[in-house]
């Protein structure tokens, strides 16, 4: 048993926007919002997830890959890592476009990894004889690169979406990736305050898997059991961050086990027994079952998370609201952030502003609004 791992501890700020009508918003907007919460980070990590940014390749999986030092792995020539990765991609997948991710080097972000993106599809016939879906196949390819190829790290792998992240304050990372040139219907942003110097670009947030991205502010006190629970289902936790655990937990509950997303939210921020005991019979029975079966999935301790999944955005707090989290609406746009000021910075007169109740998610679905 390997129990010598050291957990990564951090605090943070987060911000998210979604236009559920599909109108695309410039990356400059989310940058402005998260930049206002500059003091919630310490320059050790900033990042963004954007949905709807690659309409011209919307049927391709967009793999964002960084070639750089990786903790716990030997460092070699990054070009070699790139060559090995590209040879693997050519074998495993149909690569229709490979290019550098455009960047603008400034003195605020003095050094950076080799950053590439690949628009890929699963080759015809690859799934024959397996019971995998295309998504499963992509997940296994991502896991292969991250696990087996030294100095190559896939940091985003969804369709018509991408993550942009690195070591620095989020506004500087936004400038570095020239996010003003991207337009998406959903954006999330993260400003990180790790207690240790991190220095690894892959360690910044959001954490993504396929179309899913998680930004998270918190420190999950139940991390130990959440990790062991996921390991029982074959997940390898490499980054030892809360965000990784949150992402895999949703992956397990929703993608692999088929729970409705709101039921998964109830598992990770479970209603209290005192409330369950007062529910009408069928709801009580369902909630009791969620707690009995998914007790180890309960994320206990302070958190606020934004969970983007391509078809919408979910924001939620832990069950006793130990981290700040505010939501607002204006027209068909919903805003969620750690601080109200970060919302008012980009939407001075919201129609409605509220502090969502502990454990009660704000669920926004494309085409529908808040459900």
């Amino acid at each position: 048993m390997d129990h010598w791992w050291q957990k990564d501890i951090s605090g943070c700020g987060l911000s998210g926007i979604i236009n559920w009508d599909g109108k695309r918003i410039s990356g400059a907007v989310i940058k402005k919002s998260v930049a206002l919460m500059h003091d919630r980070g310490n320059g050790q990590g900033g990042g963004f997830a954007a949905y709807g940014i690659y309409p011209e390749h919307k049927d391709h999986y967009a793999l964002h890959i960084m070639f750089t030092e990786e903790p716990g792995k030997p460092t070699r020539d990054f070009d070699d890592a790139m060559k090995e990765t590209e040879a693997y991609l050519d074998r495993a997948l149909a690569v229709d476009l490979a290019e550098d991710i455009p960047v603008r080097v400034t003195e605020k972000v003095p050094s950076h990894p080799l950053l590439r993106r690949y628009f890929v599809k699963v080759k015809q016939g690859s799934l024959k004889g397996t019971n995998m879906t295309e998504d499963d196949y992509i997940v296994s390819a991502v896991m292969h690169i991250n696990d087996k190829i030294d100095n190559a790290f896939v940091f985003s792998s969804g369709r018509n979406m991408g993550a942009f992240k690195g070591v620095g304050f989020p506004e500087d990372i936004a400038d570095f990736f020239m996010l003003e040139n991207y337009e998406g219907h959903t954006w999330t942003a993260h400003n990180r305050f790790p207690t240790n110097t991190q220095g690894w670009w892959g360690g910044a947030h959001p954490f993504t898997l396929l179309d899913w991205s998680i930004v998270h502010n918190g420190e999950i006190s139940s991390y130990g059991i959440n990790k062991r629970y996921l390991e029982m289902f074959g997940y390898k936790l490499a980054l030892l961050t809360d965000t990784e655990v949150v992402t895999y937990m949703f992956d397990l509950l929703v993608r692999r086990q088929g729970l409705p997303i709101s039921a998964a939210c109830m598992a990770v921020a479970a209603p209290f027994w005192k409330d369950i005991d007062r529910m009408e019979e069928s709801e009580r029975e369902a909630c009791e079952a969620i707690r009995m079966v998914y007790g180890p999935a309960l994320l206990n301790g302070p958190f606020a998370i934004l969970f983007g999944h391509g078809k919408g955005l979910i924001g939620m707090n832990d069950r006793i609201k130990l981290r700040p989290f505010i939501a607002a609406t204006k027209g068909k746009t919903v805003y969620m952030a750690s601080e109200e000021s970060a919302i008012r910075e980009i939407c001075p007169e919201p129609k409605e502003v509220w502090a969502p109740r502990a454990g009660h998610p704000v669920v926004v679905e494309m085409g529908k609004g808040i459900v």
């Binding site: 039921a263 005192k274 180890p296 006793i320």
Partner: protein, 499 residues
Amino acid sequence: MNRTMPPEFRVKIDQEKCRKCKRCLMSCSFGVYSFADRVIPDSNKCVACNRCVVMCPEDAITIHESPNVYKDHPNWPLSIRKNVWKQAETGGVLLTGMGNDRPYPIIFDHLVVDACQVTNPSIDPLREPMELRTFLGRKPDKLEMEMVGGKPRLKEKLPQNIKLEIPVIFAPMSFGAISLNAHKSLAMAAKESGTVYGTGEGGLHEELYDYGPWTIVQCASGRFGVHSEYLNAGVAVEIKIGQGAKPGIGGHLPGEKIGAEISRTRMIPVGTDALSPAPHHDIYSIEDLRQLIYAIKEATGYKPVSVKIACVHNVAAIATGIVRAGADIVYLDGFKGGTGAAPTQIRDHVGIPIELALAAVDDRLRQEGIRNQASIVAAGGIRSSADAVKAIALGADACAIGTAALLAMGCSLCQKCYTGNCAWGICTQKPELTRRLDPEWGAMRLNNLLRAWGHEIKEFLGALGVNSVESLRGSRERLRGVGLDAQTLDILGVKPAGR
């Protein structure tokens, strides 16, 4: 008189204080006292149960370790010399009661618990909800559910589970080993505290059927008092394979303890010895166990079945087999577990500690991906809420307490349970002794104990920054070892303090 046996204790009466009320004569069930103008104690018979000390109105009695010294020899402490003397005298197997009293390292005392500082907040259990509710039994790998009108709805019902309001249950102790009043105390307290007690292997007295929802009935190798109504009387059925205090050994309740009540409950004639064979003679293998598990499930409408084993060397592989055989609960009894009577050498030298067994079993069930198919109950050495918290962090769903429950009912740990003379009316069937234990009083004391532990467990959870016990369960990251060797830490899956 056996002249080679030095008395263990010396009873002193302060004759100036003594007012000659003779209460000590009535209290002592070991025949220490006689009266001739004044109280005369025979120290040879004293077991230091302290009943007389408690009953004496004048505080006139003191019990001391015997001041007599023998020349010291590290390889031959007096306790071992005495064993040899006793056996030279009687030619018999040494008997004892309660749990292992050898000074093995207590691993719980080398584990410390985490708390929150700055990066995550601790939670105040007096101001915020703090949840201990626990379910014992099989859980599916995943739920089939749908949302109907924004509310979750189950598509498939869950298997039956035992609902506990505190993750501490009362360990099974048979009617026979303990008195009916002790059983009543446990049943009443289990009901009041929202937990369960175990009947042990002696059947269920007819007066206790009303406490079924708080009862786990047991089916052991002697099959005493097992019939269909009995199997259906509780919330679960426990198959007892072994006991931590005497792994691999059966049970023996001597004929003199089999009075009318026990005879009726156990379904054996008055005055016959009640012998439980060492193994179940219909379980010589794991596939036999499976048959019994499913026979019981069929007979009870699929109530959870618990399998209780003593912790022995290959406990992880055994537990895996038990879960694969269909058990819904694995009850692990460590080598510090108590007993009404056991051969001393077996009690003191067979089996392994619960901490290591528990960690190994929880790990193995996770590696096999079947941890959710059965709950783990840890027993045999749980002395405090801190032990319970550590056991839960190591992976237990709940803990069972036997000795601690007896202590709550007045037991003084004199370890003379096997004599049938328990002065506190717990481990005896003599009517003049059993009536010393008032079930209402016993239940009140047990409830107090559970309430106190419940508060303390909540304080631990609050300090850990979690508000529900399932967030502690198996969270070994919240434990650290102090003064444990690397291999032990490895088995426990716990880092040393400082890491």
